[in-house]
């Protein structure tokens, strides 16, 4: 069996130093709701031979658990838990869509520890916060030994479980521009509570006299990563937002998705419900104030 080590650095310098000096595999720990079940599973298996030892680095002492606001944007630290985010005044004032999203994400006792950063870095195609972040065009800030870099959420995910982040890079914060449109998130699970998405979708809409000026539509759980649906967006922009145009535009999502059969649903079913979820998200974003 491999050996395990635990570190809880109180500064980034200390953290990068640990990374530099160890030959072990390094894993960051946020709330642990993805990581610890995986570790439990690993410990129950017959140990793999030749596996590197594992150093677990807790991110809890780096001061990444604050939410702040400036004139143009809000910043959410990667270690903010979903429970904190759901009741935060700044978040609720500018982006009520987060409350709508978080309500659908896991259950209370998971949200009490699960962080927004963990949900993003886990890079699951079913991660519920990601469609919302992409619909809001959020920017993700990575910090590594060689400094910080900003990446737009739509360019961040490279595949199931894979992001552009390098092994040493920590997701520091999420930056979202204040904007004048409205948004909404819709989730379809196998049951109502505490379940992963079969399909989820989010929409951001800017309109004038009910004509769509800007749209960002995203869908999750139907491809290796959460997707931006350009075809749907193009079908909406410049049109009047009637039930008919929304329905027509939503059907275009079929062209961008590549769903698979898994334990939650079949590809066939996902294809059937994807346009429905997209349409509901668009409609609800249009109706939101």
């Amino acid at each position: 069996m491999r050996s395990y080590f635990y570190e809880s650095p109180s500064s980034f310098e200390e953290l990068f130093q640990i990374g530099k000096t160890t030959s072990n595999e390094v894993k960051f720990l946020a709330g642990g709701t993805d990581f610890v079940p995986r570790l439990n599973y690993e410990l129950n298996e017959v140990p793999k031979e030749g596996q590197k030892d594992l150093t677990i680095i807790s991110l809890s002492k780096l001061g990444l658990d604050t939410i702040s606001e400036s004139d143009e944007e809000i910043k959410i630290g990667s270690m903010v838990t979903f429970t904190e985010m759901k009741k935060n005044n700044i978040v609720n004032k500018y982006f009520p869509v987060f409350e709508e999203t978080i309500k659908e994400l896991a259950g209370l006792s998971v949200r009490n520890v699960a962080t927004i950063g963990g949900n993003i870095m886990n890079a699951s195609p079913a991660a519920d916060i990601v469609p919302t972040l992409m619909a809001l065009d959020a920017v993700l800030v990575l910090k590594g030994p060689n400094g910080e870099r900003e990446i737009c959420s739509k360019d961040f995910f490279k595949g199931n479980g894979r992001t552009v982040a390098q092994e040493q890079e920590v997701l520091k914060e999420i930056v979202i521009k204040k904007q004048k449109g409205t948004s909404s998130f819709k989730k379809l699970g196998r049951r109502k509570a505490e379940t992963l998405s079969v399909v989820n979708a989010a929409a951001y809409i800017e309109k004038e006299n009910n004509i769509c000026k800007k749209a960002r539509i995203t869908i999750g759980s139907v491809a290796p990563t959460v997707l931006r649906c350009k075809e749907v967006e193009e079908a909406l922009i410049g049109k009047e937002l009637t039930d008919e145009t929304m329905k027509e535009a939503s059907l275009k999502v079929i062209d961008s998705i590549s769903p698979i059969d898994d334990i939650r649903a079949t590809a066939w079913y996902r294809k059937k419900v994807s346009p429905v979820m997209v349409r509901r998200a668009i409609k609800s974003a249009c109706d939101a104030e």
């Binding site: 395990y4 635990y6 610890v36 677990i56 807790s58 209370l108 998971v110 509570a193």
Partner: protein, 166 residues
């Protein structure tokens, strides 16, 4: 590499040796011998391992033991005052909610933490708060009704966060 871990368990300071790969549930049950939190799945799905960590319900199988350094952990054992049961426990008994009882310690902790946050919930809110706690005997309705009865004060005043830590 094991480390020395200090935290408060049901109001008492404890010092134990914990392995980095151990979760809090295993630490409580195997290292400390406190078997009230149950292991139903060891992967966050069932809620039978729920404890209160710094006034919030958490599933202890998903909390790495070493991360509770300096924090306050409460299990059902910390809710009883001598022979006197906590109002939630009294209500669960009175309503006959537990059948096999395996989910009960987790239900008690989830419900207690929830009432600290929201002392006057609706039925829907109670159901939602307990949605991460599975009961394979199907006692959901009775658990929900019992929590509502406690929130109406039928089983005496509900303790405040600071009081349950002693």
């Amino acid at each position: 590499m094991s480390k020395i871990l200090n935290f408060y368990l049901n109001g008492n300071p404890v010092e134990v040796i914990a392995k980095p790969e151990q979760n809090l549930l295993e630490l409580l049950r195997d290292n400390i011998g406190l078997t009230s939190p149950k292991c139903g799945c060891n992967r966050g799905d069932c809620g039978s391992c729920t404890v209160i960590l710094d006034d919030k319900a958490v599933k202890s199988c998903m909390v790495l033991a070493l991360t509770v350094e300096g924090k306050k952990v409460v299990t059902v054992d910390g809710l009883v005052k001598g022979e006197e049961l906590h109002p939630i426990q009294k209500a669960f008994l009175e309503y006959g909610a537990p059948q096999c009882g395996f989910c009960t310690p987790g239900m008690v902790m989830a419900a207690t933490a929830f009432l600290l946050e929201n002392p006057t919930p609706t039925k829907y809110e109670v159901k939602e708060a307990l949605s991460g706690n599975l009961c394979r005997c199907g006692g959901y309705d009775k658990y929900t009704e019992a929590v509502l009865a406690v929130s109406r004060g039928e089983f005496g005043p509900v303790l405040k966060g600071s009081e349950i830590n002693v």
